[in-house]
Each structure stands twice: as structure tokens, then as C-alpha cells.
Symmetry: C2
Subunit: 123 residues, 2 copies
């Protein structure tokens, strides 16, 4: 029998980093990853052609701009950005988020640019 896997404490993991727009992987389920990220300011418009993407806000306020409107999220709120839908996250003050998406998803999709983070960074 394998030993029990690690319990992941979100607050402890969030205390380990301070950079923005740089997701850190904290767990995997099959071929999906759970990532923590701190957001502040405006991200870039992008989409993920092959997958939905889930944002769960842990603290602060997050706006996700969409071409068809915008959604405003507070702590304890979850939003699914559908596959292929362009979106731009915006956080006036720092916001802490858990992302859930398949392994291999790049934060900027195909848009690239200065905010593209290294992928698959674990903490």
C-alpha cells in the first residue's frame, strides 16, 4: 500500500511566494493541475483553444473581462471560462486564486508576451 499522499494547506502554500501572474502547481488529479496564483493589475487578452479553465477566488476581488461582458468575483466564488472564450483577468488590489485546468496549459494561451509564466512550477 502506498503511503498517504500530502495534505495541501492553501494558506501555507500561498505564503511561499509573492510574485504575480505566475501560477504554482500544488496538486495533480489525473492529468489536471491545481495551481495557486496571485493576481494584481491587468493581464492580457487570451484564450485556451482546447480546454475550459476554472478560477476559484480565495481572497480579494477579481474581474474577468470577456468580449461579451465581464464577471466580478469575490472570495468563495468560482467561474468557468469556457474553452476558446477570450478573457482578461483584472485585479485592482492583489487577489489570490486557485486555477484548475489540464496539465500543460500556459497562462497566456497563444497570446504570449511579457506576462507568460514558466509552466509546471511546483511549490
Amino acid at each position: 500500500m502506498a503511503a498517504p499522499t500530502e495534505v495541501v494547506n492553501l494558506a501555507q502554500k500561498l505564503a511561499l511566494f509573492g510574485d504575480h501572474w505566475a501560477p504554482k502547481v500544488i496538486a495533480e488529479m489525473n492529468d489536471y493541475q491545481f495551481k495557486l496564483v496571485k493576481l494584481k493589475g491587468e493581464f492580457v487578452w487570451h484564450s485556451h483553444a482546447d480546454t475550459d479553465e476554472v478560477f476559484l477566488v480565495l481572497s480579494g476581488q477579481l474581474v474577468i473581462e470577456l468580449r461579451a461582458g465581464r464577471v466580478a468575483l469575490s472570495a468563495g466564488e468560482l467561474y468557468v471560462v469556457p474553452k476558446g472564450v477570450e478573457h482578461k483577468p483584472v485585479a485592482i488590489e492583489e487577489c489570490q486564486v486557485m486555477l484548475i485546468e489540464p496539465r500543460g496549459v500556459v497562462n497566456t494561451g497563444a497570446a504570449g508576451g511579457a506576462l507568460q509564466a514558466e509552466n509546471d512550477v511546483w511549490i
Copy 2:
């Protein structure tokens, strides 16, 4: 352009039901589901042969008994039960949990019994 999909407020959804061991779907990401469930008492030993399963504790305390030991989870803690690993959730007092797993997973795995819940119930 599709209209923005719904923002899911976890506390609002949790207020909509009171039964135990009966997961309610609140969102889908690709072929995965996010489910809220309230746990109290002892569940049955079971496993899921084809998938990992994620428990994120939202409130209260949860023990997950494993054949190789046990893990204790508090609010803000996440645990991945690996595919095929037998487990038995136990909550002395009511505990609120978000489960993340593929669509179609039955709460009792192949074990069945009185605590087997109807699957794919949305709130």
C-alpha cells in the same frame, strides 16, 4: 459571442441543501465536475478504480481513513485520493467539502449500499 456563464457562489449553493453524503454538482470543466457535499458521520470504505478524487475542505474537520493510515483535513486544505486507493471519509461534526472528479463518478465507488447517492444532481 456566448453570454458569460454563471458565477458560482459556494456559500449560496451550500445554503440550498442540508442532506449528508449527497454531492451536488455546481460546475463543469470539460468532463470534470465540481460538487459540494456536507459530510457527517462515517462513510463506507470504497475506491474509484478509474480516477483520482480531490477533496477541498471548506469548513469543519474531515478525516480520510486509508488502509495505510489516515489524513486529517481542516478548512482550506486539499487532498488527492489516488485512483484505486481505498478510503473512508469520517466527520465527527458536519464538514463542508468541494469534490472535484470526472463526470459520472459515484460517491460509493463499487461498494454501493445505503449511502450511495444519486449521481449528477445539480443545484
